[in-house]
């Protein structure tokens, strides 16, 4: 059995270190080692998006990233999305639009949507659907998710203006 590897990384802005086996995924390290269970596992093979996190400014499915790859990287997870007591406009909008039912897909959708809106403040419906097509939701039929993203985008634009 190979020994464990010491990984130095940054998670939600905080310097973090952990030990992992070479075969462990980032998802496993986040959930089982660091107890950051807000990142979910729906498939383990990159096809549902519920394990979405942001790595060095890009969204990745953390089930397809190895724990050791976090070394030196900046990882953002759902646990870091709210600013203190202040929900992110997307989080607030998801609540107001009832854009979650069971909620298992929600962390992944929120991070993916934030990535979209940070780069494209005024995306079309088609563009939102395209960007979120990596994330599966089986409960909502996506209607309210798309509306929540549209509304959050509007509010974020207005807040900037």
């Amino acid at each position: 059995m190979p020994g464990k590897i010491h990984v130095n990384t940054t998670i939600n802005g905080e310097a973090t270190e952990f030990l992992c086996e070479p075969r462990q995924t980032l998802l496993e390290c986040l959930r089982d080692t660091l107890n950051l269970t807000g990142t979910k596992e729906g498939c383990g093979d990159g096809n549902c998006g519920s394990c979405t996190v942001v790595m060095d400014g890009r969204i990745v499915t953390s089930c397809l990233v190895l724990g050791v790859e976090a070394a030196g990287a900046r990882i953002d997870t759902i646990e870091g999305m709210a600013r203190g007591n202040q929900l992110h406009p997307l989080q607030q909008s998801f609540l107001e639009h009832a854009a979650l039912q069971c909620g298992i897909c929600t962390p992944g959708f929120l991070l993916a949507a934030r990535e979209l809106l940070e780069n494209e403040p005024d995306p079309s419906e088609e563009r939102i659907r395209w960007f979120l097509a990596n994330n599966l939701c089986r409960c909502t039929g996506y209607d309210k998710i798309v509306r929540a993203v549209q509304d959050a985008a509007k509010q974020m634009r207005e807040a900037k203006a």
């Binding site: 059995m1 086996e21 959930r31 089982d32 107890n35 950051l36 269970t37 807000g38 990142t39 979910k40 596992e41 729906g42 498939c43 383990g44 093979d45 990159g46 096809n47 549902c48 519920s50 997870t77 759902i78 646990e79 999305m81 709210a82 929900l87 989080q91 998801f94 609540l95 107001e96 639009h97 009832a98 979650l100 039912q101 069971c102 909620g103 298992i104 897909c105 929600t106 962390p107 929120l110 419906e125 939102i128 659907r129 395209w130 979120l132 097509a133 990596n134 994330n135 599966l136 939701c137 089986r138 409960c139 909502t140 039929g141 996506y142 209607d143 309210k144 998710i145 798309v146 509306r147």
Partner: protein
């Protein structure tokens, strides 16, 4: 109660919202206990085989392995019939599906399990378990399984024929029949008769969260289980049966659940984790992989249906006949009963015969999936009705309206409808802007269909305790899959005259609340809502007594209106009185425990526009409207959400989803890449029209809304495709994927 509601019909933010958008909500797989081991399940590589020998020695010897379990570790008790809320089932079938004994009956059937210090070691250990199989021929469809000389799954399964035990061993668990009137005469009176057969493939509920279970067999002999389930009490009772324990020895804590749709009613991992914990003396967690979910949990039956209907020249349906053969999977209990109850439920027909066959095949044991059985049946009936409308030159909604079931209409399976909203749903479809809009352009078509689900009652318990600040805590046992904490809290708030936010609902474990049935059958807002209503009434009664005590009058003389208690000009708000409970006799706790009848069935309808690409066979949904009778929509956003979610599952079922089985009985598309569920990009917005025909059996008129919405989408899309292809050819098998559409295009060309 007046119908000027203050809370009901509004859209408050759900109580568990902040937890769920911040990642704080704890789902089943999120639990992490001190000293916890991780389990892994060995599954059968064969669809049908005798287990000759299992040798676990090498697995046990692996470093880090703490326990190994097989069916031989189950307690030995005589077989008996148990009813755990999903109908009567032999205990041997429940146990046999948890861990195979003697035979494996489907690829993915659990055979053994290991607990180790981490999942990777447990997985390695499972590979070291040696199993010797004698492979048997597999039967994968109902027609194959029913054929003369078919390979037999259970040599103890004797066919029940029209209510009688035949003593004949076969793969047909049961053949039943519902009859009403005289079908031969009904068809003789018909001027147009249409008869067709329809097939649907096995599909999965597709919840995003895989099954999971964590168990601790404590030193006092009590078993504590944490899991994602639709019904914590059903899990408790099933574990107790399988492990031969009194129910009082088992406690189940329902964690947040990442979707169920019926598929998280059965128990798979829980007894296995419990046994592994007993052997190792440590808590054990098992989580299914996505492949395990497809191969080892319960999908919905594949089905084979023949429907024949006749109408007279005035467009009145004179006779209807159906034969439904459903694939139960490895153990009896295909949802053919509900299919038979719903197949003609939308219509008032005097002469009906319905035959149902429950057939075992070498596929996973099927489970409920949103209105189980009804979409399979409606796919047939609603296409036949569409074809009749075309032959008569009638508008398809007008034909349905002419024959629609109403209060007093009797169904062939017995019940007479009480107040229902079939006509109102059809009228709303007809009046919709969507139905009246023009659909121009080539390769496009519009389809409509209706569907019915009967909904259920079942027991529910709620307690409400009043806090000194005028808020209340509501304790319930219904796991919340889609906002039911809030729809239940709102009903209590309405009675108490406080806001939804002033009610704090909590879903608790099986030690902490009275028995509560599954979150299923569209019952939670109806039945647990009713328990909350009763509990709130109990609180009101006690609060009035307290006010009466202070005002030196009788409780009857105290009025409650809009949250204000009053008597002869004296007043207390709910909060003012709540503050005085300590000095007037102590805490107030209200309770509600119900087992209601009259769940009040729900009808749903769909109007859909599609466009077909004749080069590739790809179907695009251009516009989709879902209409449903909610009785009374407590929280309209979550009612719309149910309608949209059910609609999109129906769209996936119609156009893509299918278990691709090879001839050996292996599912060849057991990943979310290859089992393709709809993504955001595949869909338009899903328009909703909520119809409200109050259910007379519920204080606010609620009908469950979770299920009926998945019934009409597949036939509505089929009817739309028929027109998009220019008529002349019907798609009679699900899914209607691009190859199926291309075959239809080519068959027309020839």
């Amino acid at each position: 109660m007046s119908t000027n509601y203050r809370v009901i019909g509004t859209r408050p933010i759900r109580h568990d919202g902040a937890d769920k958008v911040t990642g704080r909500a704890l789902y089943g797989a999120d639990i992490n206990l001190a000293g916890m081991l991780h389990g892994y399940v060995l599954r059968s590589p064969h669809a049908h085989a005798i287990i000759k020998r299992i040798d676990t020695a090498k697995a046990r010897a692996l470093d880090g392995v703490k326990a190994v379990v097989t069916a031989a570790d189950f307690p030995v008790t005589p077989d008996r019939i148990v009813d755990l809320g999903e109908g009567e089932t032999p205990l041997s079938c429940i146990r046999g599906n948890v861990l195979a004994s003697g035979k494996v009956l489907y690829r993915g059937h659990a055979v053994a399990a290991v607990a180790a210090i981490n999942t990777h070691i447990a997985e390695e250990a499972v590979k070291l378990i040696e199993v010797e199989y004698e492979v048997l021929p597999a039967v994968l469809t109902a027609p194959e399984a029913m054929a003369e000389g078919a390979s037999i799954l259970h040599d103890t399964l004797k066919t029940k024929e029209l209510g009688e035990q035949t003593g004949r061993v076969s793969n047909v668990a049961e053949h039943f029949r519902h009859t009403m009137g005289d079908v031969a005469k009904g068809f003789a009176d018909a001027t147009v008769i249409v008869e067709r057969t329809f097939d649907t493939a096995t599909v999965h509920q597709g919840y995003i969260e895989p099954h999971n279970a964590t168990a601790l067999w404590n030193n006092d002999g009590r078993v504590h289980v944490w899991c994602s389930t639709q019904g914590s009490f059903v899990v408790r009772d099933t574990i107790a049966c399988v492990l031969d324990l009194p129910v009082s020895q088992v406690k189940v804590t329902p964690m947040e659940i990442g979707g169920g749709f019926g598929g998280k009613i059965p128990v798979y991992l829980e007894p296995v984790a419990a046994l592994l914990s007993k052997m190792s003396g440590r808590p054990v967690k098992i989580v299914m992989s996505r492949k395990d979910v497809f191969e080892g949990s319960g999908p919905t039956p594949g089905s084979h249906t023949r429907v024949k209907m006749g109408v007279n020249a005035e467009g009145k349906i004179t006779a209807a006949e159906a034969t439904l053969a459903f694939e139960a999977g490895a153990y009896p209990g295909a949802m053919v009963g509900p299919a038979a109850m719903t197949v003609f439920a939308a219509y008032d027909v005097a002469n009906v015969t319905i035959d149902g066959y429950d057939v075992v095949v070498n596929k996973p044991s099927t489970a409920a999936y949103r209105a189980p059985g009804a979409p399979n049946a409606a796919f047939a009936t609603e296409q036949v009705v569409d074809e009749i409308a075309e032959k008569l030159g009638m508008d398809p909604i007008d034909l349905r309206l002419k024959n629609a079931a109403k209060e007093g209409t009797r169904r062939a399976d017995g019940p007479k409808f009480r107040k229902i909203g079939c006509v109102e749903v059809l009228q709303a479809m007809k009046a919709s802007e969507h139905y009246r809009s023009e659909l121009g352009g080539p390769n496009r078509g519009r389809g409509v269909a209706v569907g019915f689900w009967f909904n259920v009652g079942l027991p529910s318990s709620v307690t409400i305790s009043v806090n000194a600040d005028g808020t209340v805590n509501l304790v319930e046992g219904s796991t919340d899959i889609g906002g039911t904490r809030t729809s239940i809290a709102m009903q209590a708030a309405e009675v108490l005259g406080i806001t939804a936010e002033q009610v704090r609902p909590t879903v608790v474990d099986t030690d902490s609340v009275g028995f509560t049935g599954v979150t299923g059958g569209s019952r939670t807002t109806f039945a647990t809502g009713m328990a909350a209503y009763e509990a709130a009434q109990d609180v009101v009664r006690q609060m009035k007594e307290r006010a009466a005590k202070i005002w030196e009058t009788t409780a009857d003389a105290v009025a409650l209106d809009a949250g204000v208690f009053s008597h002869e000009g004296k007043q207390f708000t709910f909060a003012e009185l709540a503050e005085k409970l300590g000095s007037t006799g102590g805490p107030v706790v209200g309770r509600g425990a119900v087992n209601p009848r009259g769940a009040g069935g729900s009808f749903a309808g769909v109007v859909v526009d599609v466009e077909v690409d004749p080069e590739t066979g790809k179907t695009t949904i251009l516009r989709f409207t879902s209409v449903q009778d909610a009785g009374k929509a407590i929280h309209p956003s979550y009612v719309e959400g149910q309608m949209q979610g059910g609609s999109v599952q129906g769209i996936g079922w119609a156009l893509n989803e299918e278990y691709y089985m090879n001839t050996e009985g292996t599912m060849t598309n057991s990943s979310l890449l290859d089992y393709r569920m709809p993504t955001a990009l595949d869909l338009p917005m899903i328009e909703t029209i909520i119809v409200e025909v109050p259910n007379p059996s519920h204080p606010f008129g609620v009908r469950g809304v979770g299920e009926a919405n998945i019934v009409p989408p597949t036939p509505a899309i089929a009817n739309a495709l028929y027109r998009a292809l220019g008529g002349g050819v019907r798609l009679t098998r699900l899914p209607m994927n691009p190859p199926a559409v291309m075959r239809a295009v080519w068959s027309k060309a020839n």
